[in-house]
């Protein structure tokens, strides 16, 4: 592995630093399964947000369903607040093609019409295929296309980043 990866905990602290000045009473937060939920939980706690955290599994909204079928472990989505007119910070671990975010935004709109959605990600690795941008970013990284950037959570809750060679993993 020729790419030294940044420390996920450091990036998380960076993200919290960016979000602290804009945190307010009516800020809602939604994490995308699975890595996005881990990060959202930590940010939600650090900012002391009052509105309970929402979680999304975007499997039912993916655009590659007809190619790869349904993900075998779909988790329930739950937005435990009134989405209509809410101000949402959407949180994910890695922003890449933008397709996951497209699916998440579509799913949120099936719960109601939010006043705004802003995006916070731990890592932006570029290579977008859709016109989507994050407002809050822990770090921008450039990585080879055959590598998957994966967020891991240790037993003590500590987060770390790892690279997975997609070709090797498939074999």
């Amino acid at each position: 592995m020729s790419h030294p990866l940044p420390d996920a905990e450091f990036l998380l602290a960076e993200l919290i630093k960016q979000l602290t000045p804009i945190a307010h009473e009516s800020m809602a937060m939604v994490g995308i399964h699975t890595g996005g939920v881990w990060i959202a939980q930590r940010i939600h706690q650090a900012l002391g947000l009052k509105i309970p955290l929402g979680v999304l599994d975007i499997s039912f909204y993916r655009d590659d369903y007809s190619k790869i079928g349904l993900h075998p472990q779909v988790k329930p989505s739950a937005l435990p607040f009134e989405v209509e007119n809410s101000q949402i910070i959407l949180v994910d671990d890695v922003l890449y093609t933008g397709r996951t975010i497209r699916a998440a935004v579509n799913e949120i709109f099936d719960y109601g019409r939010p006043a705004s959605i802003h995006l916070a990600v731990l890592v932006d690795r570029g290579e977008r295929e859709l016109p989507i941008a994050a407002q809050y970013v822990g770090a921008v990284l450039s990585l080879p296309a055959n590598n998957m950037l994966e967020l891991k959570q240790q037993l003590d809750g500590k987060l770390s980043l790892g690279l997975l060679d997609i070709k090797l993993a498939a074999e």
Binding site: F60, Y61, Y65, G69, L70, P76, S77, E84, N106, F109
Partner: protein, 316 residues
């Protein structure tokens, strides 16, 4: 019947024809996926775009309101286009053969068939006939199988009892004519229920039913003793033809679920029924509408379970 028809070489579900022979992992996958779908109903927009652009044909060669409706709602919540064909009153009465009907609908680019038929094996026959990209769901065939009903029953049991591995389940009534009972027994044993009882008069039990791994009781009070789940079956009057029973009143006396008989089960036992109920024949209204009854939740869960089956099949 070739049960392997429903699985691909890689073990993916292509058709849902029967529970028999399906691995535990697939049953669990369906139940877990259904769990995620239960939330869709509580949203502002009760629809997800998963099956947008797919055409699902409900082929009902035998009347059914509840099953057809829940399949229709499930398909619509997934954004599929649904066509209901009650074939008893359409081309079949003009003498069109089953496979001709299927060929015609396939020519209209159907993606999935949901089939209910009075002949055992009808869904199998269609599944072995259609092109590989078309999926078939058995919504009840003769006395053979009714897999989605069994799955929604398993979903209900898991919701209320959480774990299958320490349960005692009693199925009561017309086991002989019941495709539901057969599918339930396969599902319960695949999911690891250690004790399955069937309670019925001899005339309503299939020969050698013990081979399915069930314990047979003819006395309902003994059979219900300490069970966690009571599944009542409908007395299938339309399938009796000549009847093996003296009368409905006589049946109710011995095999109708009354509060007194239910008291033999565990105090937190749940009561299930696949519907439609014959009140006062196999079940007392007091029990059907009582605290332990989960008969209406079963109907609600049926939608999520059918959404799960459809979305898994259409993706494979």
């Amino acid at each position: 019947m070739n049960h392997q028809l429903q699985l691909s070489k890689n073990g993916e579900l292509l058709h849902l024809l029967t529970i028999e022979g399906l691995p535990t992992a697939i049953l669990t996958q369906i139940l877990d996926t259904a769990e995620s779908f239960t939330g869709v109903t509580e949203r502002e927009i009760k629809k997800i775009p998963l099956l947008r652009g797919k055409s699902i044909f409900n082929l009902f060669f035998e009347p059914s309101t509840r099953t057809r409706t829940t399949f229709e709602i499930a398909a619509k919540r997934l954004s599929a286009d649904v066509l209901n064909l009650n074939i008893a009153v359409s081309a079949q009465s003009k003498g069109e053969a089953l496979l001709d009907t299927v060929n015609n609908l396939s020519a209209m680019h159907a993606d999935m068939f949901v089939v209910r038929h009075s002949q055992s094996g009808a869904a199998h026959m269609i599944a072995s006939h259609v092109k590989p990209e078309i999926h078939v769901i058995n919504a009840g065939d003769g006395r053979h199988a009714h897999p989605t009903q069994a799955l929604l029953d398993m979903f209900t049991i898991r919701r209320y009892k959480h774990d299958f591995h320490n349960l005692r389940v009693a199925i009561v009534g017309d086991i002989l004519h019941s495709r539901v009972a057969r599918s339930q027994i396969h599902a319960l044993s695949t999911l690891g229920v250690p004790e399955i009882r069937v309670i019925a008069p001899k005339t309503l039990l299939p020969n050698k039913v013990e081979r399915l791994g069930v314990h047979v009781y003819h006395d309902m009070e003994k059979g219900l003793c300490d069970v966690d789940v009571v599944i009542m079956l409908r007395l299938q009057n339309e399938r009796m033809l000549g009847a093996n029973l003296p009368s409905n009143e006589e049946y109710f006396k011995y095999y109708g679920l009354t509060p007194e008989k239910l008291a033999k089960a565990k105090p937190d036992a749940i009561v299930m029924h696949p519907g439609p109920m014959n009140r006062g024949v196999e079940i007392d209204s007091v029990v059907a509408d009582g605290k332990q009854s989960v008969i209406l939740p079963q109907v609600t869960f049926g939608i999520a379970v059918r959404m799960a089956v459809m979305s898994i099949l259409a993706g494979n």
